[in-house]
């Protein structure tokens, strides 16, 4: 086996739990005694720790170990799944017997040989030291410095909450088609929340910012990384002290670069996931080749960007990740696929089969979803709007993929008057219709940015880390929900 990426997790699971090739093939063989299309095993061993500060004190440290295995069998559209937190030869056999119960007929019972998957010739997130191995004292010291720095920036800062979360996850996937893929996945996140109050004490506002990715924890320990983040959080909390209520109604909206790419995630990303399109419950079903966005709009999902939060070497089914063009110059080009939906739709898997943990079935999910840069200078885009809204940052969003309606909430937004950025507004919610939202894009900036690495996507009760990105864009006539009718 020349695949060093897989070698580390493979030997970890084999040494720790006494598993070997023979037992993996025997388990898959048990599953294949029935008439099935695919069977796979997913092993996971995750260490996560977090340290949190509030009121100037690191009040608690947490450390969580989670281990387990999931055994899956697919027959036609059916999936049988059994998972256990015991990783033993016996529990694997029990799980395989449970999972295969969804298939009624006997199968050919052929032997399986697991071998290394088509290994990508790169590791997107090599680390010399797992982030969970960094001594807790360094994290405690960082949080103390963040607290002091935030309070030094503005006397209106009343409360600082900050946390560092580090994760180290080993996974190993063995499948009946011979796939044998392992991955070591670091994940780091720094969260900062600031509460500010005005001098009279009559008004309080909060702001949150975070950063993270699949890299060494040392990166967030660097003051050059966390100081701008803390300053940004303080600026936002204080800015919101002067924000006025948001107007309600239809207006032209300019979205700033980076995190507002959450628009793509909600407006089109979910609707392009293979499961919804195979079942034809998405408003985008059967629309490949049709115009779904304005000319000049190109949207991709790319799981291969080094160190990004949404990136993976392999997805959770052992398929190498890739860059998938979803929308090209406004035309719908592709869906995001896991193996089940790719097989049933006669398409190729795109490396988007993801799951929250061994306790969950994989589904088609996004990785890093973003719009490519256009040519307009961002200042020109703002200047082009007579009266509208300039939204720079969002707290979250949601979509109904069947009706296509999506919503997302701004936590930093300004009025635009006569092409100039005006007063900050609070409580702005944008609502739109997925299939036509991107048709309203009239300007695309030359300033593509990716978010800071804090996105978490929820679907069917499963959370996975994702990334988004976008250049500055202008959307014509979007509904803005505020209180000022």
């Amino acid at each position: 086996m020349n695949d060093t990426l897989t070698a580390v997790p493979a030997s970890f699971f084999c040494d720790r739990f006494g598993l070997d090739d023979g037992c993996l093939t025997a388990t898959l063989g048990t599953a294949l005694e029935r008439r099935v299309d695919h069977a796979d095993l997913f092993f996971e061993y995750t260490t996560e720790d977090s340290v949190a500060l509030e009121e100037g004190m690191v009040k608690t440290g947490d450390r969580r170990l989670s281990q387990g295995v999931g055994v899956r069998v697919q027959a036609g559209e059916r999936q049988g799944y059994a998972h256990s937190d015991e990783i033993t030869v016996e529990s694997l056999q029990v799980a395989a017997n449970t999972a295969r119960a969804i298939s009624e007929g006997p199968g050919p019972g052929h032997a399986v040989a697991v071998h290394s998957a088509l290994a990508p010739a790169r590791n997107l997130y090599p680390v010399t030291r797992p982030p969970t191995d960094v001594p807790v004292d360094q994290k405690v010291a960082l949080l103390g410095e963040i607290d002091a720095y935030a309070r030094s920036l503005d006397p209106r800062v009343k409360q600082v909450m900050a946390s560092v979360v580090a994760q180290h996850r080993l996974v190993l996937i063995a499948a009946s088609d011979g796939t044998f893929a392992g991955d070591v996945r670091p994940l780091v996140r720094l969260n900062v929340q600031v509460i500010a109050a005005n001098a009279a004490g009559s008004r309080r506002e909060s702001a949150y910012q975070g950063m993270g990715g699949r890299f060494e924890l040392e990166r967030v320990l660097d003051p050059k990384a966390w100081r701008p983040l803390v300053a940004e959080t303080v600026r936002l909390a204080c800015l919101n002290l002067d924000a006025i209520s948001c107007p309600a109604g239809t207006m032209d909206v300019v979205l700033g670069p980076g995190w507002p790419g959450i628009l793509l995630h909600e407006a089109v990303g979910h609707g392009l996931e293979g499961d919804f399109n195979r079942k034809k419950t998405s408003t985008f079903a059967d629309r490949i080749g049709q115009r779904v966005a304005a000319p000049g709009v190109t949207v991709v999902d790319d799981g291969t960007i080094p160190t990004r939060r949404g990136s993976l070497n392999f997805d959770d089914e052992g398929t190498p990740t890739q860059r998938t063009v979803l929308i090209e110059d406004g035309i719908l080009r592709g869906y995001l696929q896991d193996r089940l939906n790719a097989r049933l739709m006669g398409m190729a898997a795109t490396g988007n089969g993801r799951r929250e943990s061994y306790a969950h079935l994989p589904m088609p999910r996004m990785t890093n979803t973003f719009m490519l840069a256009g040519t307009d200078p961002p200042e020109d885009i703002v200047r082009s709007v007579q009266r509208g809204l300039y939204a720079v940052s969002f707290s979250g969003g949601q979509v109904d993929i069947t009706s296509g309606k999506f919503v997302f909430s701004a936590n930093e937004a300004y009025l635009i008057e006569d092409g100039q950025i005006g007063r900050p507004v609070k409580g702005a919610t944008l609502i739109g219709n997925g299939p036509d939202a991107l048709l309203r894009v009239s300007r695309v900036g030359n300033n593509l940015e990716l978010d800071r690495g804090v996105g978490t996507c929820g679907k069917d009760g499963q959370s996975v880390p994702v990334g988004v990105g976008m250049p500055t864009i202008r959307l014509d006539a979007l509904t803005v929900g505020g209180t000022e009718a």
């Binding site: 004190m57 690191v58 009040k59 440290g61 947490d62 450390r63 969580r64 170990l65 989670s66 281990q67 387990g68 036609g76 059916r78 999936q79 049988g80 799944y81 998972h83 937190d85 015991e86 449970t98 119960a101 969804i102 004292d137 405690v140 909450m161 509460i195 309080r204 506002e205 909060s206 948001c246 309600a248 109604g249 239809t250 079942k279 034809k280 419950t281 408003t283 306790a359 079935l361 707290s395 969003g397 949601q398 979509v399 109904d400 069947t402 009706s403 309606k405 999506f406 919503v407 909430s409 609070k426 409580g427 919610t429 739109g432 219709n433 509904t479 803005v480 929900g481 209180t483 009718a485």
Partner: protein
């Protein structure tokens, strides 16, 4: 691990090791769960999933003149050697945190009687997975049979989960309870003139026998999807907004977020420091009852071994109390209200048990009939609520009301206001209290909100 060690023995082992390593106090929670979930689309099984999990959480406090230092670890590896290692790690981790005068176990008042709250029926243990799958098929078929415009679905899902919680602390408390939850969820899709609408209905119960008839769930889900067909936007306006019981629950969740002891002592709630003030209209009485028989949030003791109880939160519009665990109580100089909520892998925080708005006397249709013009909200999306300020702005779908009658479905609008003002403008409470979880509400009407549309 063919014969896993007894749960109480694992907890005792964790506690004694933490103490031996120098912890001034410790507690441990072991949660065992197993369950099955399945989804059916039309007649076909989509997936069947079976699970078994055991997680142990150990919390240790290390003493200091200035207070206690706290840490928590959790593991699903319950071999005694692994538990010993985790106890060591917990104590070492605790030494790295700050001494906090408010940290520590409750001083006393542990639950002594553990009443049977009807959380579990042992007969349901002999679970027939096939029978549960058949009920999903039945819901699916009933949804599709209701109307030819029900052409598709996201499926009908059934689940049965069993839990056993064992909690012990170095203060001498050791208790355990078993619970179960069974659910059926149906999500059909209606199609007309090329447009699709989905909606759902569900039933949840502690006993399989307590679940609603699957066909009724399917028909209700289908009727909800059908009535959304032809939805359109409305012009931006300020009107009364009625929330049905499903969406009104979210208002109580927001209220909970503002009366949770942590938000109060951190002053991240606009309701901090407002006990006994009129914060809502006189129609609003909110109670959190941890011992409601069969309640989906009921438990005999909370995540710190304190007895659960009935807490009055809002009484005829007046804020009567916050919901507290030991820590947030100490920060506010108050006693725990028995609302410590924790899983094995996390420390205590404040959670609701069975939080509900006391129902009124009018039916939802009577409330609609007394509304000359307004919006009946049946679905909310997005996270536009800020507990610090009460700012509220969410995406909504529902039904438009003119002259006391429903005229057409509405979508792609937002509703906005300030939550504090919304509570004071709450002028109607329905009689239709609906329990579908640990938070429940009847229909309510807010006298005026901004609806943003075209």
């Amino acid at each position: 691990m063919k014969n896993p060690p007894d749960a109480a023995a694992v907890v005792a082992h964790a506690l004694s090791h933490a103490r031996k390593l120098g912890a001034a106090a410790a507690d441990a929670m072991l949660v065992e769960s197993d369950g099955v979930e399945a989804r059916v689309r039309d007649r076909e099984i989509d997936f069947v999933s079976q699970a078994r999990e055991r997680t142990l959480g150990i919390r240790a406090f290390v003493g200091d003149a200035k207070g206690l230092r706290t840490a928590l670890t959790s593991t699903s590896d319950l071999a005694l050697a692994a538990v010993t290692r985790m106890a060591e790690e917990t104590v070492a981790l605790a030494r790295a945190t700050a001494a906090d005068p408010a940290a520590g176990l409750p001083e006393g008042g542990f639950a002594s009687d553990l009443p049977d709250l009807e959380l579990f029926d042992p007969a349901d243990r002999a679970l027939e997975v096939e029978a549960r799958i058949e009920s999903a098929r039945c819901a699916e078929a009933a949804a599709r049979a209701l109307d030819p415009r029900i052409t598709n679905s996201e499926g009908s899902q059934v689940s049965s989960h069993f839990h056993r919680v064992v909690y012990g602390s170095s203060a001498g408390f050791l208790g355990e309870y078993e619970s179960a939850s069974h659910a059926l969820f149906c999500e059909p899709i209606a199609r007309e003139n090329g447009a699709m609408q989905r909606d759902y209905w569900m039933t949840l119960h502690r006993r399989i026998g307590g679940l609603e008839d699957p066909a009724a769930v399917g028909r209700q889900a289908a009727a909800r999807a059908l009535r959304r067909l032809g939805a359109r936007r409305v012009s931006t306006c300020e009107v009364p907004v009625i929330f049905d019981p499903l969406t009104a629950r979210s208002l109580l969740s927001h209220l909970f977020a503002c009366v949770s002891g942590y938000a109060v002592y951190r002053e991240t709630s606009f309701l901090a420091g407002r006990i006994d003030e009129a914060i809502a209209s006189e129609h609003v009485t909110v109670v959190d009852d941890g011992r409601r028989p069969g309640g989906l949030g009921s438990r005999p003791f909370d995540g710190e071994g304190q007895p659960t109880r009935r807490n009055l939160v809002v009484e005829r519009g007046r804020l009567r109390g916050y919901l507290l665990d030991t820590y947030s109580g100490r920060k506010l100089g108050l006693a725990s209200t028995g609302n410590a909520s924790r899983g094995a892998a996390s420390g205590p925080s404040v959670g609701p048990t069975n939080l509900s708005l006391e129902p009124g006397t009018q039916s939802l249709s009577e409330i609609v009939a007394t509304t000359p013009r307004g919006l009946l909200v049946t679905e909310l999306i997005g996270q536009g609520f800020n507990p610090v300020t009460g700012d509220y702005s969410r995406g909504a779908a529902g039904l438009w009301i003119e002259g006391g009658e429903i005229t057409h479905p509405v979508e792609e609008v937002t509703i906005a206001g300030n939550f504090g003002e919304m509570l004071r403008a709450l002028d109607k409470v329905g009689s239709d209290l609906l329990w579908l979880g640990s938070i429940a509400s009847p229909s309510v009407r807010i006298a005026g909100m901004t609806v943003a549309g075209s």
